[in-house]
Symmetry: C2
Subunit: 376 residues, 2 copies
């Protein structure tokens, strides 16, 4: 059936009768906002269909790996007389950001049309299906905080390591030299410390929340959660997960003291949060349990749940946030939230409507978590 529809598409494109893959696809495609400068493709239409276009005249087969939403198994592209391969997804994609790559003649390559995003332990292509609620991370003419790349020497791993630190717009301008709470925010498996400030738009989410007066400004710190290697990507083996104990040491005993020494933080557990998405949630879970003196706020974003029996001292934690997409397992979040509330914890459970294990879930989760932890 799929073979047939590909052949059919090839035929209609070749004869120039119709550009659309099916009658109901609206021809209002626009370049994805994640494209490289000046690149028209990939494109996205108002229904969430994506259209890809790749020039490779002598190639035998070109396909797009992206299989999300209603699209199963990716999209095969079809070549025209000029050697340009084109294809439209068979169904709309979920709103939000998706990683993908190309398969060209059996090899894995990126789409030269898009920027690159670190996911699946490699720099991948990325496409954005505009979300109906995207306003909370849009670029506005409001005061913008800085995102700082800091390099800190880690004794335990004998390496120079990198973190990104978001400071609120008020950080450098306020004369009172106010100190700020800090959220340590971790990426997922296969991603790195660039994820939250790039595809996550964490800085824009914060800028807009602060501009609207909805939260007390706070600092966000993102570092690399796979600890066996330093920040330099060229080190072979740099994407293996070194175990949570090694990362726990870097985070609690090296990065937190470094940040407290170099930024105007409220340097105590009552003003320090840890949260993470997916594998970063697993790390958050382990580290907050193993080092109860470090963090007062815990957040798991598509990264498991807490249960009342595992927390030794109820007073060790001020607030707990747990979330996932509605296309993940929201029952787990809802059940755990109920149990934690009944046990007397200050808990928020959040389910992102219509999203899966992807960044729109986590952008929305960060927004909700910021309001819950330090809302006004």
């Amino acid at each position: 059936m799929k073979k047939f529809s590909v052949l059919f598409s090839a035929a209609v494109i070749a004869t120039g009768l119709c550009m659309a893959q099916s009658p109901e696809v609206k021809e209002d495609f626009k370049p994805s906002t994640k494209n490289q400068p000046g690149q028209q493709y990939p494109m996205v239409n108002s229904q969430g269909y994506a259209r890809f276009r790749i020039s490779a005249p002598q190639a035998q087969a070109v396909s797009v790996s992206l299989g999300h939403g209603g699209v199963r198994g990716g999209t095969d592209l079809v070549k025209d007389e000029a050697g340009v391969w084109t294809g439209t997804t068979s169904a709309p994609l979920d709103e939000g950001f998706h990683y993908y790559h190309l398969n060209i003649d059996g090899g894995t390559f990126n789409d030269p049309g898009t920027n690159n995003y670190y996911g699946s332990t490699r720099w991948e292509s990325g496409i954005e299906i505009p979300a109906h609620d995207a306003a909370f991370y849009e670029e506005r003419d409001v005061p913008h905080g800085f995102v700082q790349q800091i390099l800190f020497w880690s004794e335990s791993t004998n390496s120079l390591r990198r973190a990104f630190v978001y400071t609120p717009p008020t950080y450098y301008s306020d004369k009172a030299k106010v100190r700020y709470p800090v959220l340590y925010l971790q990426h997922g498996w296969g991603e790195d410390e660039t994820a939250w400030m790039t595809q996550g738009h964490a800085n824009l989410i914060m800028d807009n929340l602060i501009a609207e007066g909805k939260i007390q400004p706070f600092i966000i710190v993102c570092t690399y959660g796979m600890t066996n290697e330093g920040f330099r990507p060229g080190r072979p083996g740099g994407n293996r997960f070194g175990g949570v104990e090694a990362f726990q040491k870097v985070l609690c005993d090296e990065l937190v003291p470094y940040v407290d020494a170099h930024f105007r933080t409220l340097a105590n557990k009552d003003n320090r949060a840890m949260a993470g998405l997916s594998m970063g949630g697993m790390e958050t879970h382990s580290i907050t349990m193993a080092r109860p003196e470090m963090f007062g706020y815990y957040g798991l974003l598509s990264g498991g749940q807490y249960n009342p029996t595992e927390i030794k001292d109820k007073n060790q934690v001020k607030k707990i946030f747990m979330s996932c997409g509605s296309k993940e397992r929201p029952d787990g979040i809802n059940t755990a939230t109920r149990a934690m509330k009944e046990a007397g914890y200050d808990v928020m459970g959040y389910v992102s409507e219509g999203t899966a294990h992807e960044f729109l879930t986590w952008r929305r989760s960060l927004y909700q978590m910021a309001l819950f932890f330090w809302g006004k």
Copy 2:
């Protein structure tokens, strides 16, 4: 001749008699330091040969665009039985950083083995041939400055624009709240504001110079010099050069005031420099002449020369730095330096030995320029 050697290479690889392309190539290849985490290829040997390996079993032709040093016209790769394409450059490459891409069946793609670097108006692959003098930008256990991403609203272009700001290690720790000189440092054509802090290693060059006590610490600011578009790469047409007048307005009337308002700068022309590489040198040349009240220090890195007749008032400039690689046109730099010295200017000319119009020339130039402008 080239065809013959390709066929010959194919023959020797296919018969498994010899992995090297020529007898004198040393088999001490190591992964390039610019590779993605865990990626073995591309590799570089101690002589400066590069070896590429790409998996694309059904491809008809795979080649590498990189033509630098003694390598003309790139490198054709040859397929083995497993569908893996391999090839070694026909000669050593120049020391330093090189952009490149793959040609696969007539299409342009990046090497999935390397990180991506913005050059030629697209994210390209990059490879590093270790320089014999690389110590000046190596990663050391010394105090490290921060690299800050700042977003500023530009009225003249009606866009949110991005810059990266390097602050010295002492910036946040010193109690005396010292103010610092600022260097506005521009990228070349087809590059963007990421270039100097990524492939340029400007932050590491500064960290090491400061740790050795060789320079007075200063701030570096890098922004996008193609002014018609904001910082969001997805905007179509974003890589056209909008003309120096538009950029001059953003730089002098929007970015400089923003930086002076948000950082502890010495906010006057006697402590403000502008420099750029290639097209950034052309911009520096135009802007320093058009706006003599803005900058006291001028630097052209592979970006032309000043001549005494074009400067209206000799007192408008404190110091001038001009440089290029020995494989560019060093005569131009030497002649202009002599003429400017004879006319009474405080000038330094610098020629980077053995390098062309590439980033090792500019890393070395930044090092020399920092010593010349604000050396101790």
